[in-house]
């Protein structure tokens, strides 16, 4: 059970996080829409990149957290890790969906098509399906140790598939713009400094948002457990 002190401390921490995330997003939006120069060849639509790349980063990071928490769950068998894996998978799927939405909005004017079967697009789509299936598995099974174990196995199996999917679709075909931030010429050489800074701010804002959402979702799930426990207690005592 959470003591009242712990709750207060938690709230204090999360309110600092809320402020930080808010400020980071304010800075990111100012940077994206006012500060950063418009890209010469692609025009204004290129600004969507400052949402697209951070969303992609966030979803991969979230899926990695699912993987780690799944291993920890199978190892320690503590409900805590199951909650983290669940919350992280949900956030990952949301941001993966954003990647799949912002990508075509950019691709339509630049490539002249909403979708092409490029390596990165294909692997993002497959990744999205894998984690939607993961959430479906959770929704299909009743709460309890079985759901947590099965989801953890799928969290591990799914993440280990990512490198295999990456190479298979890479050898299959590739058109996506080559990575500019971290390229063979060194970190940040392929990009103008203002753009790099804007991307950096945006990445920070999204990462903070991840932790904020995680905190909210985990707290919600824990309260749900608490309610279930109290319900059972009153049911048996009366």
């Amino acid at each position: 059970m959470m003591s009242s002190d712990a709750v207060e401390e938690n709230e204090e921490e999360s309110s600092i996080l809320v402020w930080m995330t808010g400020l980071a997003f304010l800075a990111a939006i100012i940077a994206i829409f006012i500060y950063v120069p418009t890209e010469r060849t692609e025009g204004v639509v290129q600004r969507i990149m400052y949402f697209h790349i951070p969303s992609a980063w966030l979803s991969f990071f979230a899926f990695f957290v699912v993987f780690i928490c799944s291993i920890l769950f199978l190892w320690k068998k503590e409900r805590e890790w199951d909650i983290y894996a669940h919350a992280s998978a949900e956030i990952g799927v949301i941001f993966c969906s954003l990647v799949l939405i912002t990508g075509p909005i950019w691709a339509r004017p630049i490539w002249g098509a909403w979708w092409v079967w490029d390596a990165r697009l294909t692997s993002t789509l497959i990744l999205w399906i894998i984690y939607v299936a993961y959430l479906m598995l959770r929704a299909q099974s009743e709460a309890g140790s079985m759901r947590a174990r099965y989801a953890a196995v799928l969290g591990i199996v799914g993440f280990l598939d990512i490198p295999l999917i990456h190479f298979s679709v890479l050898w299959w075909r590739a058109f996506h713009p080559q990575p500019k931030v971290i390229s063979s010429e060194g970190i940040g050489k392929g990009m103008e400094i203002g753009m790099l800074a804007t991307l950096g701010i945006s990445l920070c804002a999204f990462t903070l948002l991840y932790f904020l959402l995680m905190g909210v979702r985990v707290r919600q799930e824990k309260l749900k457990d608490e309610i279930d426990r109290l319900k059972r207690e009153t049911l048996y005592s009366s």
Binding site: I126, M136, V153, L154, G158, W171, W172
Partner: protein
């Protein structure tokens, strides 16, 4: 080690005895694979498209779809009359159950594939005999990967209420690397290229097989647990 092998072979033998007696699974898988090939023949115009271009894809879709029937059956069969519980009560490691199921799934699917190949050869007018040996290696690697991951997920899905629906939903996205690899390799093999030209695909498929057999050994204890 000998004990482990005899435990695994007991499970494989049990599955074979059931199959010899009922003959349900094999015929269903074979007819289903044949139907999938027929439906694809109707949906692509073979007078326009080169048969050797679409052939490998159609062949593997047929294998994987009918293989899914086998996987669904594999653990669903054990749920009847609490057989799975009896298997788990057996004084054996849970990995023995996994390997027993893996081997029987693999053997059923391979036999079915060997029956489909001659029909494929006739329907698509492709000469397989010339490239039979490399083709069999590709089929072996692909089928093993499919069964390694499929057996694990089938043991997992069999405890869900909606197992027939959930197994393909969980399995197919994870199978993407194997599907791309085997379809590519089959196409290249049928075009007469030697296996040494496609080492990257062979490596990918072999690592898929090894990774998922390894993961299954490590996680099967957590799935078959009551």
């Amino acid at each position: 080690m000998n004990l482990f092998i005899s435990q695994v072979s007991a499970i494989v033998w049990k599955d074979f005895t059931i199959e010899f007696k009922t003959r349900e699974l094999f015929s269903a898988m074979f007819i289903f694979a044949l139907l999938v090939i027929l439906i694809f023949i109707f949906s692509v115009n073979l007078s326009v498209v080169e048969a050797s271009e679409v052939g490998p894809g159609i062949l593997w879709v047929a294998f994987l779809f009918s293989g899914t029937i086998g996987l669904n059956r594999s653990f669903a069969l054990e749920k009847e009359n609490g057989c799975l519980m009896a298997l788990m009560l057996m004084p054996a490691d849970r990995t023995a159950i996994y390997f027993g199921k893996l081997i029987s799934n693999f053997v059923f699917l391979t036999i079915m594939e060997l029956f489909i190949l001659p029909l494929f050869m006739i329907f698509f007018n492709i000469d397989l005999l010339e490239h039979l040996f490399p083709l069999l290696i590709v089929i072996f690697l692909g089928t093993l990967g499919f069964c390694a991951l499929g057996t694990l997920l089938s043991s997992l899905a069999s405890n869900l209420k909606t197992r027939e629906i959930m197994l393909p939903i969980l399995l197919y996205p994870l199978l993407v690397p194997i599907v791309i690899a085997v379809v590519r390799m089959t196409g290249q093999v049928l075009a007469g290229e030697p296996l040494s030209e496609m080492m990257n695909w062979i490596g990918l498929t072999a690592s898929f097989d090894i990774i998922y057999i390894g993961v299954s050994i490590m996680t099967i204890d957590h799935i078959l647990e009551e």
